[in-house]
C-alpha cells in the first residue's frame, strides 16, 4: 500500500526551465530605434537582460510562458 507521503505532486515532478542570462551591461533600450541596442556599437542586440528567457532573439519557449 502506498502512503500519501510517497505519492507524487505537481511540484515534485516540476523542473527548472532552460534559461539564458545575458549581462545587463551589454544592452540598452533605445527609444529612438525602439529596440534593444548594444552599448558598444549601437547596433541591434537580442539580449534579454536578465529577462525571463522566452523573449530573446529567437522567441524560444522555455519558461513560465512556455508556449
Amino acid at each position: 500500500m502506498i502512503t500519501l507521503a510517497a505519492l507524487i505532486t505537481p511540484m515534485l515532478i516540476a523542473s527548472e526551465p532552460m534559461a539564458i542570462t545575458i549581462d545587463e551591461i551589454q544592452t540598452k533600450y533605445s527609444h529612438d530605434q525602439q529596440t534593444v541596442v548594444s552599448l558598444n556599437d549601437n547596433t541591434i542586440s537580442y539580449g534579454t537582460v536578465n529577462g525571463t528567457q522566452t523573449y530573446g532573439s529567437n522567441g524560444r519557449p522555455a519558461d513560465s510562458d512556455s508556449d
Binding site: 529577462g51 525571463t52 519558461d63
Partner: protein
C-alpha cells in the same frame, strides 16, 4: 500606425520593429513611466522620450505581445495595478474599434484547453484528456500510458515548471489538481503557425529527445536547426482553416503529434512564440507577421 503593447526586452518585438520601422509605436509596459501619456474619454496620445508618438487618430492597428511578461521593478503594487489598468484600457479601446490583430492576452481565460479540445475533435484526432481533483475520472485512463502537463505554464515557488512528464496514475497525490493526457507515441512534434490566411507547418524529430518535452531540450546556441518546414496536405490545410474559423481566430500556433500518419491535436496556443521556428529568417516569418499586423499602404 501599429500600437505594439510589449516589453522593452522582447526580442520578437525587436524584430517586428526592425521590419516595421516607425510605422509602429512600441509601448513597453516595463518602461511605462518613461512615456508621456494623455488619455481622456475622447482622445489619447502617447509620446516616448525620443519624441515618437501615436494617438487615437493615428493608430490603425494594435497588437499585444507579452507585455505583462515583463515587470515594473521595485514598484509599489498599487502602481503596478494602476499601470496594468491603463494598458488594458488602451488595448480594449483599440479592440472596441476593431483595430486589434492577433489574440487578446487573456484568450485562454475564456477558451481553455478542454473547450478547445472539444472543438478540435471535429477536425482532428485528440488524445484522451482529463482534468481532475481528487483523481476523479482517472479510471478512464487505466491501462494507458499517461503524461501530466501544466494548464497554465505557471511556475512553482522554486521557479520550476511542470513540463510534460510521464506518470503512473496510481502514484498521483489526490490532493492536487492534475491535467492528464494519454501519451501519444510519435516520431515528431508538429506545430503549425497560423498568421492571417497563411499556415506554416514545422516538424521536429523526437529521435534524440531524452525526455518527452522538446521545450526542455532546445539548442539556444542555434548550432543546429531543430524545426523543419514541410507542406501540409490539402485535407490538413482545410481542417486547420475550419478549426480556426470555428474558434474565430486567425493567429496562433497549433501543436500536434503524428500517430499512424494522422495528426493528433494537442493544443492551441493563442499567443505562442514563433520566431524560433525561423530564426535565420529563411522563410520570412517576421515579414509575414509584419504584413499581417500592418499591411503596407
Amino acid at each position: 500606425m501599429l500600437l505594439l503593447f510589449t516589453g522593452s526586452l522582447d526580442g520578437t518585438s525587436d524584430r517586428l520593429i526592425q521590419e516595421l520601422g516607425h510605422r509602429a509605436f512600441r509601448f513597453n509596459y516595463n518602461l511605462c513611466k518613461e512615456y508621456h501619456l494623455e488619455f481622456t474619454p475622447d482622445y489619447w496620445e502617447i509620446t516616448n522620450p525620443a519624441g515618437h508618438s501615436i494617438n487615437s487618430n493615428t493608430v490603425t492597428r494594435a497588437f499585444w505581445w507579452k507585455a505583462f511578461n515583463f515587470y515594473l521593478v521595485d514598484e509599489e503594487p498599487f502602481i503596478v495595478e494602476e499601470a496594468k489598468y491603463i494598458f488594458r484600457e488602451l488595448y480594449h479601446w483599440c479592440r472596441i474599434r476593431g483595430l486589434v490583430k492577433g489574440n487578446p492576452p487573456d484568450f485562454h481565460n475564456h477558451m481553455g484547453k478542454m473547450n478547445i479540445l472539444n472543438l478540435a475533435a471535429n477536425y482532428f484526432q485528440i488524445p484522451q484528456t482529463l482534468i481532475s481533483f481528487q483523481l476523479a475520472g482517472v479510471d478512464k485512463l487505466a491501462g494507458k500510458e499517461v503524461v501530466a502537463k501544466s494548464l497554465t505554464s505557471g511556475l512553482t515557488t522554486t521557479n520550476k515548471a511542470l513540463f510534460t512528464t510521464e506518470v503512473k496514475i496510481e502514484t498521483l497525490h489526490p490532493n492536487y489538481p492534475w491535467f492528464l493526457q494519454e501519451k501519444i507515441n510519435s516520431d515528431a512534434d508538429i506545430t503549425v503557425f497560423l498568421c492571417g490566411d497563411k499556415q506554416f507547418a514545422f516538424s521536429r524529430s523526437r529521435a534524440n529527445l531524452k525526455g518527452l518535452d522538446w521545450r526542455k531540450e532546445q539548442d539556444f546556441e542555434m548550432t543546429s536547426q531543430e524545426w523543419f518546414t514541410f507542406d501540409l496536405t490539402l485535407e490538413q490545410t482545410l481542417s486547420i482553416a475550419n478549426f480556426a474559423k470555428n474558434l474565430n481566430v486567425d493567429w496562433g500556433r497549433l501543436d500536434f503529434m503524428i500517430h499512424q500518419d494522422n495528426f493528433v491535436f494537442l493544443e492551441f496556443n493563442a499567443n505562442g512564440q514563433w520566431v524560433f521556428l525561423d530564426y535565420t529568417n529563411e522563410i520570412g516569418l517576421v515579414k509575414t507577421v509584419a504584413d499581417y499586423l500592418l499591411p503596407k499602404p
